[in-house]
Symmetry: C2
Subunit: 211 residues, 2 copies
DNA sequence: GTCTATAGATTGATAGAC
DNA sequence: GTCTATCAATCTATAGAC
């Protein structure tokens, strides 16, 4: 971490600490101390604590959104080429897989995914507004594609089911960071890929369920 | 609110503000100001800010746990009487319905449910430890009953699916408080009962899906 | 039980030397 | 760009009068 420039080290430290302790429970002093930077460096490079949060989120969310958009567009193009409706499951895969796979992009990426998962149900307006503005276009594209895949479902019902899907997904993302609530002494928990596959199976079954 | 005693007014105000703004983003001054009480009253009645949080959670979570336990026990007893395994869907209903129905228990109850939903993926140890200790026995009973309903599923797979279920449920609980992310301009969103029924349908389909 | 007053620590932000 | 030093505000918690 210490051979990178100060701005990057602060971003990395903020990402880690915001994800682990929450935005309001993390002080600039803790961040700069972990980043081995001076306290004043945060305001010099970013302007404020809130602007640092925005920078932390944007750094990885913009590429992730791009990736999800490409995958969804590919599914839509494939469907258009064959003259059929896209399948709900392939759209879900296009949306979920890049998100969960993102955790392997690096050590900080896993913290980031946990931060994003938590932001979906964030009470605080600071975090919430920052996050929602960035993901909304992506979520809309996803939702409208699903409407084409499942035209028989009333909009309100589809919206509810998408909400359940995002909830299940964000919960997995939150807990990818730390041990989940230890409900049962399972002999061998699933690894990341199996968990992603199980999630896809779970939500696509629920989404396509008859009314 | 103002004809109740001070202790209750502080509990109500804390419940509302912790749910709306988060624990660390809520100050004792904001709480006592809303409760029309003196700043020192919190430490007099509860001892500390953290002890107030514990009191806020315990006040409603203990009765809710009791309610869920009774419902699950009733399903198990019914199954034992007929000599069959309990159905996954009836267990899910026993667990989910009291939780969501709790929102109608009063104006503060809805805030409380949002607080609980968020606590399931809480980054902060203060909130997380307090919450987990209280719900763990209840969650274990739920999980072990499900194992009897779905014995063909490997433990690790069932655990993953229960995790998805809790995620979907907690997301609904979080957003029962405030408008959800406005993904689509839906003509008429579902009301609370329809949403609960849709959730039950969604998670029971996913939980019972073939491997 | 309720109040005022304040201790004691921590916070985000900034001014100014280098 | 990086540093020291510090300001002004805020926080939880408590002591002590009533």
């Amino acid at each position: 971490m210490s051979q990178l420039d100060t701005k990057t080290r602060i971003l990395d430290a903020g990402e880690h600490l915001f994800a682990r302790d929450g935005f309001h429970n993390t002080s600039l002093r803790t961040i700069t101390s972990l980043a081995k930077a001076n306290l004043a460096a945060v305001n010099y490079h970013f302007g404020s604590k809130e602007a640092l949060l925005r920078a932390v989120i944007e750094r990885r969310l913009l590429p992730l959104n791009q990736l999800r958009k490409e995958q969804i567009d590919a599914v839509l193009a494939e469907a258009a080429a064959t003259g059929t409706a896209p399948s709900a499951k392939s759209l879900l895969r296009a949306f979920i897989e890049p998100t969960l796979a993102f955790r392997s992009a690096g050590p900080g990426a896993q913290d980031f995914i946990a931060l994003v998962g938590r932001s979906m149900s964030e009470p605080d307006e600071t975090v919430r507004n920052c996050f929602i503005g960035l993901v909304l276009p992506n979520f809309r594209l996803f939702f409208e594609s699903l409407q084409r895949a499942l035209p028989q479902l009333p909009t309100a019902v589809l919206m509810a089911r998408v909400q359940f899907t995002l909830g299940a997904m964000s919960h997995v993302m939150c807990t990818s960071n730390k041990p989940p609530i230890n409900i049962s002494a399972a002999p061998q928990p699933l690894d990341d890929d199996e968990l992603a596959e199980q999630l896809l199976q779970f939500v696509s079954t629920g989404l396509e369920a008859p009314q």
